[in-house]
């Protein structure tokens, strides 16, 4: 059971039990403090080293059998993701962001072009990639513990019971769910369900975390707390993250690089280096002039896309 360690701030929302818990976890120091995470840069990553995720000339679409047409979601996308990098994708809705992440996960294949992970073509889902879903996608008939175990039990070789228990306990501690092992998802708030989803993705220690608007469905206050925690977790694990979001602030708070995707058919419009110090979940950074400049720049780019979509007219 999580106890409220800090009284101030927690009392303001005492009528909302789940929010209280979220804040409590945020306040507590369960997660190691953030250090400046080693960012891959041109200096320490020689150009000869292949990128971890390599997206080359990728187009993707969906067939409409009735109209015998094909809706092109993505066109000629080129993108490199380096090991240990946190990449955020922003773009107008329907621009093919989710299509892109589904292809990296191995759920669908591109029409043209190639997607390589570790230099190998993606044929299907693999143990090197885990995913966090917008709608949580936790198994409602399993307890929190068994939901997290789900990510370990289907792999070969399957870790021993003791090793599994240790790793699950660690993953649950990272997301602040220690004490909720025996709860069922329907007994938890939306934010806590997504913590289960994140713990499930972390527990097998995959190299790549694919996150499809993971905080899109939780309330604003919980979202802020979870972003802060997630920044700490990733600083701790050093995983490569491919992160889709609607929120410019979220992208700037978490990412090393932000990719702006154009309107449908989605293309890479711009790739932006986020040169802000970490930890960023700090009022100082988020109120800094640079943060404001970057936010305004992305906002203008997205606004242009949104207006372009209107001018073009939806068929």
């Amino acid at each position: 059971m999580t106890h409220v360690t800090s009284q101030d701030g927690a009392n303001d929302c005492s009528n909302n039990a789940s929010a209280e818990i979220e804040v409590a976890i945020f306040m507590s120091q369960a997660v190691p403090s953030v250090t400046q995470r080693p960012r891959p840069s041109a200096d320490d990553a020689p150009t000869t080293q292949p990128p971890l995720i390599d997206i080359r000339g990728v187009s993707a679409g969906y067939e409409n059998k009735r109209q015998k047409t094909r809706l092109i979601a993505l066109r000629d996308v080129n993108l490199d993701v380096q090991r240990g990098e946190f990449l955020a994708i922003v773009g107008p809705s329907g621009c093919g962001k989710t299509t892109l992440i589904n292809m990296i996960a191995g759920f669908m294949k591109p029409l043209e072009g190639t997607i390589r992970v570790h230099g190998e073509l993606v044929h299907g889902p693999g143990a090197d990639r885990a995913m966090v879903f917008q709608d949580y996608a936790v198994l409602p008939w399993r307890t929190v513990y068994k939901n997290v175990m789900f990510a370990l039990e289907n792999r070969h070789p399957r870790p021993s019971k003791e090793v599994s228990a240790e790793r699950i306990a660690h993953a649950l501690e990272l997301v602040g769910l220690t004490g909720f092992e025996k709860s069922y998802p329907y007994e938890l708030s939306g934010g806590m369900r997504q913590r289960v989803g994140i713990a499930r993705a972390l527990v097998s220690e995959p190299e790549i975390l694919l996150m499809d608007e993971p905080f899109g469905a939780v309330d604003a206050m919980t979202r802020e707390a979870m972003q802060a925690e997630f920044e700490k977790i990733i600083a701790h694990t050093g995983q490569t993250v491919f992160f889709i979001t609607h929120s410019i602030d979220e992208a700037l708070t978490l990412a090393d690089r932000v990719v702006i995707v154009s309107n449908r058919p989605g293309r890479v419009k711009e790739i932006l280096d986020v040169d802000l110090p970490r930890p960023r979940f700090d009022e100082g950074v988020r109120r800094s002039e640079r943060f404001g400049q970057l936010r305004e720049h992305i906002w203008n780019q997205l606004q242009a896309e949104a207006l372009g979509a209107k001018a073009g007219g939806d068929r």
Binding site: P125, L139, W141, Y184
Partner: protein
């Protein structure tokens, strides 16, 4: 489940703890039981009073006491017992056959498109067709024997079971399937760990509907099939002999049987999917 008395919290509980113990009044769990007993007693008392007043011809509406007496003597004299046994036996075998055919075929229809395409016209035709229409054909083919009664139970129950199982597999949350794939399930594991647990409540409610339809099938088989056995036959004979108390006794017996089955299935349904808490979804 029961409304119970208002939960009261223990005084002096730690104001920082997230869970608190709840104490309820000791008789709260029995409350709904008591209400039911009082309710039913009142029902039979009013029945008795109306019958005594003879507003309705006693030939059609016997006293509740006469009905109970017919029920008692029916059991003691061995009139009801064998018929009840026959019906229950037939019904149980029919439901087992229906489940054995309906569940696998329904799951297969949900998961394999070609099976769905081949079977669905027949399944939907048979689901929609009123069962009584089949009686003449079944009598023609199978005669008046037990196999005809059994067949009509199976034909009544099997299709709702199939349709529900199929719907269950087809409505599996695509996100859960993607989660299954991303976390390394093989095709067989995906079925065992994701699709079947998701479908389980649909299977149970299919069996539930199958039971309701199967009871109807059992009765029409016994009433119209002329097999000379079962509760339906008892009902038919009591009608012909103007034995109103016996008729009502059989009806009460059938009501108890049906309610028992339906409530039993509801209990199983809750056990099968405790996570299906729609009030919070």
């Amino acid at each position: 489940m029961s409304a119970g008395t208002l939960p009261t919290t223990k005084p002096g509980a730690d104001s920082n703890s997230v869970t608190e113990a709840i104490t309820r009044s000791r008789w709260a769990p029995f409350r709904s039981f008591f209400i039911t007993v009082i309710n039913l007693t009142l029902f039979f008392v009013i029945w008795q009073l109306v019958a005594l007043s003879e507003v309705i011809n006693p030939l059609f509406f016997p006293k509740a006491t006469d009905m109970f007496s017919a029920l008692y003597h029916g059991f003691v004299d061995g009139i009801i017992g064998p018929e009840l046994l026959h019906s229950v036996q037939n019904f149980t075998i029919g439901m087992l056959i229906s489940a054995a055919i309906g569940i696998p075929l329904g799951l297969l229809m949900g998961g394999v498109r070609i099976v769905d395409l081949i079977l669905s016209p027949y399944v939907w035709a048979m689901t929609a067709l009123p069962r009584v229409a089949l009686i003449p054909l079944l009598i023609l083919v199978l005669g008046f024997g037990n196999s005809m009664q059994l067949t009509i139970i199976v034909l009544s129950a099997v299709f709702p079971i199939m349709v529900n199982c199929m719907e269950g597999v087809k409505t599996v949350d695509p996100s859960l399937v993607r989660a299954g794939r991303v976390f390394g399930t093989s095709e067989a594991q995906l079925y065992v760990k994701v699709i079947l647990p998701f479908t389980l409540p649909f299977v149970v409610s299919g069996i539930n509907q199958g039971i309701a339809r199967g009871l109807v099938g059992m009765l029409i088989g016994e009433l119209l099939g002329g097999g000379g056995k079962g509760l339906g036959f008892l009902l038919d004979r009591a009608g012909e002999q103007f034995d109103a108390p016996m008729m009502y006794a059989t009806l009460v017996l059938l009501a108890v049987l049906s309610v028992g089955l339906v409530q039993g299935m509801r209990w199983i349904e809750r056990r099968a999917a405790p996570w299906r808490d729609f009030s919070r979804a």
